[in-house]
C-alpha cells in the first residue's frame, strides 16, 4: 500500500524496527526506505559500518542494530529523509525521536510542538529537546523530540502549533479549445499538419510546445492510431521569436 498512499505499512516497517531489547539499550537509527532506487549515501556516510555494504546501488539499506549507536550522521545525509533516530532509554515515560526538519522557522529548544504520524495526523504534544544545525548537516537540521514512549514508532514529523493550519484549452496562443479540436477531427482533419493549417494551433509564438503533444494525443485517440505511427509536423526555425531588426543588425553572411 506504500505505493498507493506513500505511507509505509506495518508489514514494511517490521523489517526496519529493532527488537524491544535493542531499543531499550539506547539510540538507534530506523531506516524507512523500502523501494529499490539507485541511492547509497546512508551506507557511505556511516563511519561505524553499521549499514551493510551495497552490492548494487539499488539495494535497500540493511542495518546492523548492534553496531549502530544512533549517532544520526546518516539522518541528514539521506536524500529521501527516510531515517530517524529513536532512543527509548531516555526515561520511563518518554522516548526521544530525532527527525530531519528542513523548514523555517526552526523550533526553539524547550518549546512544545505537535508530533505527526506518517500521514501527517497530529498524535501528541512533543517537547523540542535539541535543535542541531551544523555545517556538515548542510541545511538539514536534526530536531530531537521527546514523545510518549508508546509513540516512538509513530511520530515521524512535527508541526508548529500556530503556523500550519467546454473551456478546455489546447492551444493557448491561438485559443483552440478541445471542443473545437474535436470538431475539426470530426470534419476529417486527421493529422497534426492539417489541424495546424486550418486552425493555426501550434503556429503561434510558443511554436506548439504546449499544444503539439495534446493535439497528437487527441488525434491518436480519435483515429485509433498509435502515437508512434502518427505523422508529426515540421519543426521550423526560429525556435524562439526574434526581432527582424536583431537579425538585420547582427552578424550576417558566411
Amino acid at each position: 500500500m506504500l505505493e498507493k498512499t506513500g505511507v509505509a505499512t506495518e508489514q514494511d516497517l517490521a523489517k526496519a524496527i529493532p527488537t524491544k531489547e535493542r531499543l531499550a539499550k539506547g539510540p538507534v537509527a530506523i531506516i524507512e526506505c523500502f523501494q529499490r532506487i539507485p541511492c547509497n549515501p546512508c551506507y557511505t556516510s556511516c563511519k561505524r559500518g553499521a549499514i551493510k555494504e551495497f552490492e548494487d546501488i539499488n539495494d535497500t539499506p540493511e542495518i546492523n542494530f548492534e553496531i549502530c549507536n544512533g549517532c544520526g550522521v546518516c539522518v541528514s545525509n539521506c536524500p529521501g529523509l527516510a531515517i530517524v533516530v529513536v532512543d527509548e532509554s531516555y526515561s520511563n515515560e518518554e522516548a526521544l525521536v530525532k527527525i530531519p526538519y528542513e523548514f523555517l522557522p526552526l523550533p526553539v529548544e524547550g518549546s512544545f510542538v505537535t508530533g505527526l504520524d506518517r500521514e501527517g495526523k497530529p498524535v501528541c504534544r512533543a517537547k523540542v529537546m535539541k535543535v542541531l544545525n551544523t555545517k556538515a548537516m548542510d541545511r538539514t537540521p536534526l530536531i530531537t523530540l521527546a514523545v510518549p514512549k508508546e509513540l516512538s514508532m509513530t511520530v515521524r514529523f512535527m508541526k508548529h502549533h500556530d503556523i500550519y493550519s467546454d473551456n478546455t484549452f489546447i492551444c493557448r496562443c491561438e485559443e483552440l479549445t478541445l471542443g473545437e479540436l474535436r470538431e475539426l477531427i470530426r470534419k476529417g482533419y486527421n493529422t497534426i499538419d492539417e489541424i495546424r493549417r486550418i486552425s493555426r494551433a501550434g503556429m503561434g509564438p510558443c511554436q506548439g510546445r504546449t499544444c503539439r503533444q495534446l493535439i497528437m494525443q487527441e488525434l491518436a485517440a480519435a483515429t485509433g492510431k498509435k502515437m508512434s505511427e502518427m505523422p508529426i509536423s515540421t519543426f521550423r526555425p526560429p525556435v524562439k521569436p526574434i526581432k527582424l531588426g536583431t537579425i538585420a543588425g547582427g552578424e550576417r553572411g558566411e
Partner: protein, 101 residues
Amino acid sequence: MRIEEHPILSFDKGRRVDFIFDGKTYEGYEGEPIAAALHAAGIMVLGHSHNKQRPRGFYCAIGNCSSCLMVVNGQPNVRVCTEKLQENMIVETQVGKGDLR
C-alpha cells in the same frame, strides 16, 4: 507575495527599484523578471487573449508561450516572464495584439 525566509535558499536580490504598471507605482528588485515583480505585488492577470478575452497570466516562466505579452517602455509583445525589471520601467497591459510605435 515574497518568500521572506527559506531554510535552504537565500535570494540574491538586486536593489529595490520603482516601476510603473498601468499608471501606478510599484516596487520590485532590479534584474528580476517583470512578471515576478508583478506577481509579488499580487497582480496575476497580465492581459487578455485576443479572441475569447480569457484572462492571461504568468505561465511558462521561460519566454516560450504567449501568456505574458505586455507593453514595456512602449514596446509591444514583450514577454515579461523573462524581461528583466529596470528602474522606472513603464509596464502596461497590452490591448489586442499590440501597436508598433
